[in-house]
Every structure is written in C-alpha cells, then in structure tokens.
C-alpha cells in the first residue's frame, strides 16, 4: 500500500486523528497499569479540549521554564552544565506536580554546547549574566544587515551558512569568507579544498566536540521524556516554529532593523517573509513527526497589541503567519500559540481559522474578551501571570483560577495554564493552580 498517497488523501481532521492515536500510544513500557491509565486519561482530556469538546474536567498545564531548578534547590546554571542534576530536578518536578501535560527539559539547553560554539544569540547564567540568575536571555542585534534581503531571498540556506551562522556562532566565523557553496557537479574538489583550508580546522574540531557534547545532553533529555511517559505523563514536546515576521524581527533584524525595513523596504520584507514560510512549515512538521506529538509550539512576540498597528499586523504579520498555521493544520499538527503581552486587538483577525484547529495561550489578554470572540472557534488558555504567582498567596491564586474557569471553561475548549513560564515562586502557588482545575473544573 502506498502510505504517502494514503496520507495525502486524508482530511486535516483525519490526519490529526492519526497523530493523536500515535501520541496516545507512545513507544514505551508503562511502569504500572495505573500509569498507562493515567497517561491516556490525561492526554484524552487535553485532546478533547483542543477539539472543543467537554472533557471530564478542565485540563491543566504548567510550563516548566526553569522552575524545576529553583524547586530542587539548585540553579539554572547547574542544570545547564550538570545533566545528572537536570534529570534529577526534572523528575522531581514531574513527580510532585500532577499536570495533564508536561514540558520536556529540552529548553534547558546545554551550557557546554553553547560555550564550545561560542554562541552569541544568548547570554546565560555565568556567561554574560550573574551565575545565580534564573533564565537565559536573547541578545538582539542586526544579525542580518539591511542590504542582505536579496541574499536571503535568493538562497536562504546560503544566507544561513555564510552570513547568519558566522555572526551568531563564533566558532563558525571562518564560514563568512567561504565562496558560495553551490557545486553539485559530482566532483569533490570544492568541498575538499575547503576542508583543507587551515582556517577551517578549528571549525571541524568545534563541531565535533559540540556534537559529542550535544549527544550526552540529548541522551538525558530523552531519558527524562521516556521516564515521564512510563510514569504516565504525556509530553507536550512536538515541533516548534516562529511566526515568519518574528523570524525576521527577533532573529535577523532586531526591533530597530525591522522597524526601518517596514518603512524603507516593505516589499523586500514581504517577499522574504514568503520565502521563509515554507521552510518554517517543513521543519516544524518534521520535528512533530519525529517526536510523535502533533503539538507545534509557536511563541509570539512582535505582533502584540502595542508593537504595531492593526494595519501593520494585517499587512506584515498575519498573512504569512496564517499561511504557516494553515499548512500545519493541514498536516494534522496542532499549533499551540503562546501570545506574549496582550492580543486584545488581534482577536477578531486571528479568528479566521478552521474551528477547533489550534490552541491559543494568552499572557495578558483579557480572557473574557478572548472567550467572547474565540469561544466558538478555538481552544484557549493561559493568563495566570508570573507576577501573580510570585507575589500572591495560594488562596488568591486558587480563587483567580476559579474565576478563569468560570468564564473560560464554559462549554469546553479551555486549558487552565500559566500565561508564561515562571522561574521561581512559592511551589504551593503552582499546586493551587492544579487544585483549582480539579476542584472547580469538573464538567457535569
């Protein structure tokens, strides 16, 4: 039977069902029958919410962030460098918090790999930031210059290889002096003469070291995922993507650069957004395939209410973002968009997607309004803020969650979740979120 042909002939809902089935039956041996039951119960609850049906109760999700470090009495830096400590902290977090979906430690990246690569996109504890700090931070810069759009549009791979990577991975700096790598003529000369260049020897050395280090880290991350699944905790880790506009505004051009481009070369920017879109789709779907989990995490940044006008959102942000979402939906994936800041003004626009095809996690958006506008079309969640968790009492948090459930939980299609991850807070505050889902979230 031709599987590919069969897949192409399926509707997006059918493809998604296939992916849900795979997600529900992971390739693990559950530690106990109870764990297996728990796994299916939790995940079914979550899947029903996505489909905007009524589960037995409101599902609850706590994005881990670097909280497990704080919770196990250690620092983020320790977890970034000591993979044994990472595993220990993660398993403790999973064991102690009864969530319906858990985050893999895959976002606590290896500090050693960053160091070997001389990675410049982030500062992290002990590397540009004080050692005891609880998060790494993005370093915004013009990693792509204003006059490099044509280079990107012509060949994004070449742009990455010879422009972006040499500027963001210090060890790859020699690649900037390379000639365009376009020889596919079957003769080995170009590649080999490149490899023979003494300037490139440190590059190979660093790549070798970094990949060996990465393998050690990856082994621990997948062991954590495996152990979590065996114990009955489904993982939310599928694919990841950025909205095309954010790819340029965050990664390539920065806030200043993108603002200038919107005025000085809007057409080039729009063209480049079209070029990057299919690439983002392909890599997100490939990652979801590999993980056996249809969720595609999309953090949203520079389309928030106060970043640009509605007109600019409609022109620069939404068209290619919607294209990305539709392609993911049509592949049976479930985009889980996490909208930082507030998205009140955008709700009417973003409604324009197939019913029950996506999940929206909001941070500061007015949840009553969100339910009002999106209540018939999309599953929503979020809004318990880091500031609340940091400064409030468990009683106040629980009461706030009760109100959220009352407003947003109506009729299903709702996930009780934080608006962002939290690096540290009274652990009882997170327990209060979970208790609220169990106590107030039961559908009758």
């Amino acid at each position: 039977m031709n599987l590919a042909k069969k897949w192409d002939g399926l509707s997006w809902q059918e493809k998604r069902e296939e992916r849900f089935k795979q997600w529900l039956s992971p390739d693990v041996k559950f530690s106990t029958p109870q764990a297996e039951k728990l796994y299916k119960e939790r995940l079914s609850r979550f899947i029903k919410a996505i489909k905007m049906e009524k589960p037995d109760r409101v599902p609850v999700q706590i994005p881990a962030g670097s909280f497990p470090a704080h919770y196990s009495g250690t620092t983020l830096r320790t977890l970034m460098y000591d993979y044994g400590a990472l595993k220990k902290a993660w398993l403790k977090f999973i064991r102690d918090f009864d969530m319906d979906l858990y985050d893999s430690p895959g976002l606590i990246f290896s500090g050693r790999v960053y160091e070997i690569l001389d990675y410049k996109l982030y500062q992290w504890p002990g590397h540009g930031l004080p050692s005891d700090i609880s998060m790494h931070q993005f370093v915004e810069d013009e990693y792509m210059k204003a006059d490099e759009y044509d280079a990107f549009i012509k060949d994004p791979f070449d742009f990455s290889l010879r422009y972006f990577l040499p500027r963001t991975w210090g060890t790859l700096a020699p690649l900037s002096s390379m000639t365009r790598f376009n020889s596919a003529l079957g003769l080995p000369f170009q590649l080999l003469s490149l490899c023979a260049n003494p300037d490139f020897q440190p590059v190979f050395q660093a790549m070798r070291e970094a990949s060996q280090e990465l393998a050690k880290w990856q082994a621990v991350v997948s062991e954590c995922s495996q152990l979590a699944k065996e114990a009955g905790c489904p993982s939310a880790a599928g694919g990841m993507a950025l909205a095309p506009f954010d790819t340029f505004a965050d990664m390539f051009r920065g806030t200043r650069g993108i603002a200038m481009d919107m005025y000085r070369q809007p057409d080039k920017l729009l063209e480049a957004l079209e070029v990057v879109t299919p690439q983002s789709i392909e890599s997100a779907v490939a990652a979801a395939d590999m993980a056996g989990c249809p969720m595609v995490f999309i953090p949203l940044h520079k389309g928030a209410d106060n970043f640009m006008s509605q007109k600019q959102y409609e022109k620069f942000y939404w068209p290619t973002f919607r294209k990305l979402l539709m392609a993911l939906i049509n592949e049976g994936c479930v985009p889980r968009r996490v909208a930082d800041g507030s998205y009140n003004e955008r709700l009417e626009i973003i409604k324009d997607l197939p019913r029950a095809s996506v999940v929206w996690i909001f941070e500061q958006t007015d949840m009553t309004k969100a339910k009002d506008v999106l209540g018939d079309t999309a599953c929503i969640g979020g809004n318990v803020t880091a500031a609340q968790l940091y400064t409030n009492t468990p009683q106040a948090i629980k009461e706030y969650c009760r109100q959220l459930i009352e407003v947003c939980g109506k009729g299903g299609g709702y996930i009780l979740s934080l608006g962002s991850s939290v690096d540290r807070c009274n652990p009882k505050n997170l327990q209060a979120v979970i208790e609220a889902a169990k106590e107030y979230g039961v559908y009758k």
Binding site: I133, Q137, A259, M262, F307, M308, A386, A387, Y390, T391
Partner: protein, 210 residues
C-alpha cells in the same frame, strides 16, 4: 500647499524632510530653529504614540530621521541652545535583565515631554542607581524590567536607596513586561506604570506639573 517641516517629520516623510532640512540650511535658517522645529515634531510623534496612532516602528523611524537631521544641522550650530527641562529623571533596566525596548520608549516619551532623562541602560547594578541618584538629585527614578527575575532586583534597588538614606528624596516608578501593581508592592516602589504614557503622567504628577 507643501507640507511644513514639522508635519513632514511628524508624518515620517523621510525624503521630503531631509530635502527640506538641506534647503533651510542653504537658505540660512538658524540651526537652532530647525532643532526646535524637530523637537515640536517629535512632540507630535509622542502624542500620536500616546493616542494609539503610532507604534514602535514609528518611534524607531522618527528617531532615525531625527538623527539624520541633527547630523545635517550640527556643523551649522554656533552655540548650543540652553534647553529648559521640566525636571531630571533617572531610568534604567535593573540588574540581571538586558531588555531595553520598553526602556527606550519611556526614554523617548519622557524626553519629548520635556524631561532631562538619564538613561543608564540595561543590567544596571544597584550601586550605579544609588550613585546616579546622589549625583543628579533627580526627584524621579524609573525602574524597568521584562523578566520575573527583575522582581527581586527592583526590590534590592529600592532597599539600597533606603540604606543610602536617600529613598525619601525621590519617587520611584516601575514598569515593563511582567511587572504589575503586585510587584510594585513587593518592590516597595511608589507606582507601577503600564506603559510609557503612564511614566510621563506619573513623572509630571510627582514634580507638580499637570
């Protein structure tokens, strides 16, 4: 009728406003008059931002235009103008946090509203805030932060000002990404501002200029 200089700059017409700047200089217009007109135009930009017509791209772009105009005008400046400021304000992103988008918007809005702004940048150590507040005797301090780790850094900064015995001489406002009024209480600041307009409102209120 062709648009005047102030409208051209406020409407972000790059080519036209640069052309006009050169024309005015050639015609012998005072450099200071052009700068004063630019200031008025930036005030319009600030008002449009406050009114929800302009957003971050417009602030960035207008700042870029202003920079170009200043470069053109500079060689013609015979004496520097004595700008009269409402009051001094010190701002900065607290220790451990390297975010500056919001900080720079607050800088812009306070400046176009007549304040003399001392922007200490990002990841500002507690000590530096204390030194700057002593040096400038500014009556207003603005602490910016994007991340949750800024909660404690803000608290530490306020406490250091207390320990230095100068907390009573100033009003402190906080703002940025994850901040809210709960954090304001936690950090023992005087007010939380949800955006750059709030920063201007608070600063004006505190220096008694409404």
């Amino acid at each position: 009728m062709p648009k005047d200089f102030i409208s051209l700059l406020a409407d972000l017409e790059e080519e036209e406003v640069i052309k006009l700047t050169k024309k005015r200089l050639e015609a012998g217009d005072e450099a200071l008059t052009i700068l004063e007109d630019s200031r008025k135009a930036m005030e319009v930009v600030g008002k449009r931002f406050a009114g929800g017509q302009y957003f971050i791209p417009e602030l960035v772009y207008s700042g870029e235009l202003l920079k170009q105009i200043t470069e053109l005008v500079k060689p013609h400046l015979v004496q520097s103008g004595d700008t009269k400021h409402l009051s001094k304000v010190v701002i900065g992103t607290v220790a451990g946090d390297i975010h500056d988008i919001g900080l720079n918007i607050v800088d812009f809005m306070l400046s176009v509203n007549g304040f003399e702004v001392y922007n200490l940048g990002v990841d500002v150590p507690v000590k530096k805030f204390v030194e700057k507040m002593k040096e400038t005797s500014a009556p207003v301090l603005g602490l910016s932060g994007f991340l949750t780790l800024a909660f404690d850094a803000m608290k530490d900064t306020v406490e250091a000002l207390e320990a230095a015995g100068i907390r009573g001489k100033m009003k402190i406002m906080i703002g940025g990404g994850q901040m809210d009024d709960e954090v304001r209480k936690y950090a023992k600041a005087d007010a939380y501002g949800k955006d750059a307009m709030a920063a201007v409102f608070l600063a004006k209120k505190w220096i008694g200029d409404n």
